[in-house]
Symmetry: C2
Subunit: 307 residues, 2 copies
C-alpha cells in the first residue's frame, strides 16, 4: 500500500555525551520515510525546506527511493532548525533552540498523485496542518498521528477535533498522561481512545511500547542496547517502521499490528545506535528480520516447565 508521511525536514544540532553534530539532516518526515521504506517502494514525503537546504541532503532521501514531489522548496526563507542537548542518562534533553523559519506558515497542497495514499502518517505538526493533509487524502485506509505537549496545551480544540478523525495515535507516555489528565497509563489509554483513535500506541523509550487495539493490549520491550549514541528521531523511526510494515500487508489485522509494533521497535533500535538518521541509511530488511528473531527470544514465555 502507498504511504504518505507529512512532517518536518530540518537541520538538527545534536549534543549527546558521545558526540556532537551541527546542521545534521533531521526532522520527523526524514525519520518517518527513511524508517518506512523497507516494505514498500511507494513512499511519499510532504515537507518544506528553505533556500539553505543542501542538495546532498535531498539526495540522501531521493537515493533511498523516497518520492520527494511533495517536498516544497522556498527560496525566500531558511530551513526549520532545532538544537538539543541530551543529559548523561540520555532520557532527558534540553532544547537549545527552535527556529521555525519555513515551518511558520507551512500548509501543504499535496501533489495530485499523492492524494490516493492508503497509509497516512501525520508527523508532529500543528493539528490544523495535520487535519488539512487528512482532508486531501480521502482514500486513506489508516491514518496515524503523532503530537506533543505543545499542541496539547496550546491548541486543545484543534487537537480534539483531529483525535476524532484519526485511526491511530502514537504518543509517548508523558504525553498520554497529560492528554488524559490521568497518571495510570492503562486508564489514560482508555480515556484517550474514547475520544477517537481506535488504535493507541504509547512509546516509553527504554521501556518499549504499549499498543491498545480493540480488546487487545500488546507490549514490546525496547531492544537491549549497550551502546546508544543518539536518541533523536527514535520515536519517528518507530512510527515510520510501524506504518511501513503495515504498508506491506494486504490487510490490517491485529496480528499485523502486533508485528508492526515489533518492526517499529527494531527500526528504532537501529536508529539510536548512530547519530541522527545515519543508522537508517544502509539498514537492510535482512538486518531488521534478524533483530526481530532476537526480540522473540527476549519476550517469548516458555511453556509451563514445572517438572
Amino acid at each position: 500500500m502507498s504511504l504518505l508521511a507529512v512532517g518536518t525536514v530540518a537541520f538538527d544540532q545534536i549534543e549527546t555525551p558521545f558526540g556532537k553534530r551541527d546542521r545534521a539532516l533531521g526532522g520527523s518526515a526524514t525519520y518517518l520515510t527513511l524508517a518506512a521504506r523497507f516494505m514498500t517502494d511507494d513512499i511519499n514525503l510532504v515537507a518544506v525546506v528553505g533556500s539553505d537546504f543542501p542538495e546532498e541532503y535531498v539526495d540522501v532521501l531521493r537515493t533511498r527511493n523516497i518520492n520527494l514531489d511533495g517536498l516544497e522548496h522556498r527560496t525566500d526563507q531558511k530551513t526549520f532548525a532545532w538544537g538539543g542537548r541530551y543529559h548523561y542518562d540520555l532520557n532527558n534533553r534540553d532544547t537549545l533552540f527552535t527556529d521555525l523559519n519555513v515551518l511558520s506558515d507551512f500548509n501543504p497542497t499535496l501533489p495530485e498523485h499523492y492524494t490516493g495514499a492508503r497509509i497516512v502518517c501525520l508527523g508532529n505538526l500543528d493539528p490544523g496542518v495535520q487535519a488539512s493533509v487528512m482532508d486531501q487524502t480521502p482514500s486513506a485506509d489508516l491514518v496515524l498521528c503523532d503530537t506533543m505537549n505543545f499542541w496539547i496545551e496550546h491548541t486543545p480544540d484543534a487537537l480534539e477535533a483531529l483525535l476524532g478523525r484519526v485511526d491511530c495515535l502514537v504518543i509517548n507516555d508523558s504525553e498520554a498522561r497529560e492528554l488524559a489528565d490521568e497518571p495510570n497509563l492503562i486508564v489514560a489509554a482508555r480515556k484517550i481512545r474514547e475520544r477517537g483513535p481506535e488504535i493507541l500506541i504509547i512509546k516509553k523509550g527504554e521501556h518499549g511500547a504499549l499498543m491498545f487495539a480493540g480488546d487487545t493490549v500488546f507490549s514490546v520491550p525496547a531492544y537491549p542496547l549497550e551502546d546508544i549514541q543518539d536518541p533523536t528521531g527514535a520515536g519517528d523511526a518507530f512510527m515510520g517502521g510501524f506504518a511501513g510494515y503495515l504498508s506491506g500487508c494486504s490487510s490490517i489485522t491485529v496480528d499485523a499490528l502486533k508485528h508492526a509494533l515489533v518492526y517499529g521497535s527494531v527500526v528504532a533500535s537501529f536508529t539510536v545506535e548512530k547519530f541522527g538518521p545515519e543508522g537508517l541509511y544502509d539498514l537492510t530488511r535482512a538486518q531488521i528480520l534478524d533483530r526481530i528473531d532476537a526480540f522473540r527470544d527476549l519476550t517469548t514465555i516458555p511453556l509451563e516447565s514445572v517438572g
Copy 2:
C-alpha cells in the same frame, strides 16, 4: 524444594490516593512468604517482632501454611514500623517514618531444621545479616538477594562481599543504576553481574522487569491494571513469586527462570490491587495461571503476517 525467606515483619502505615491503613501487617518477609506459597508447602520465615505484635497477624501467616519457627518474639521491644505516603501517580512515595525497634539488633540464629533450605530469599536487610543467613544455609541451591540504596551508600564493602556470594540479585532500576554508577541499564546489568550474581533481575514498576541469566535477556511487562490501590510490597511479592515458582521446579533451567519471572510479575499484580498484603490472602494458583495466559496474549509476537 524448601524455601527460606528472611526479612522484616512489620507494622505499615500506608497512605495512597485511594485510602489509608494504620498498623497494617507488612514487611518484606510477610510479602515474600505469602507470595511464595503456591508451589511448595515448605515455606520457612525468618524475622523478628516485638511484644506489641498481635496474634491475629501471626495467624494470617500460620493459617497459610508458612512455618514460623524462625519468627523471633522479643518481649522487651516493639515491632519494626514504617510509614509511607504515595503521590498521586503512585510511582513516587515519601517515607513518613522508620522505627527500627526490634530490627536494630536483629541477627537471627536459624532453627536447626531450617538450615537445609534449598532456595534462600534474602529480603532487604543489612548485608551483614544477609551474609549470616547464607552462612547458616550451606545446602542452598539458589540464593536470591534484595538490597536498597541505603546499603549501597552506607555499607558498600559488606554489600560487595555479599554480591560475590549470591546467585541472583533482585533490585529496581534506580538501584541498579546507582550500584553500577551507570545510566544505561544494559551496561549496568553487565557490570553488576561481573561483581558476582549470575542472575540479575531489574524491577521497573509499571514497566515490568528485565532478567539477565547466562547469555539470556528476558523482558516481562507489568500486567496492565486500571485499578492499583497500593504498590507497597509489590517488589517483595514479585521476588517471592519468582522464588516460589522455582521451589516447585525439579531443576533451575533458563525456561524455568523465564516462567518464574512471569509468575512473579503476576503475583505482584494481584498484590497491588488491594491494600498491604491483602491481595495475597485468598489468591489461588488457578487465578495465577489464568493471568499467566493473559500475559501470553500481552507479549507473544505473532508469526510473520505479511500477506
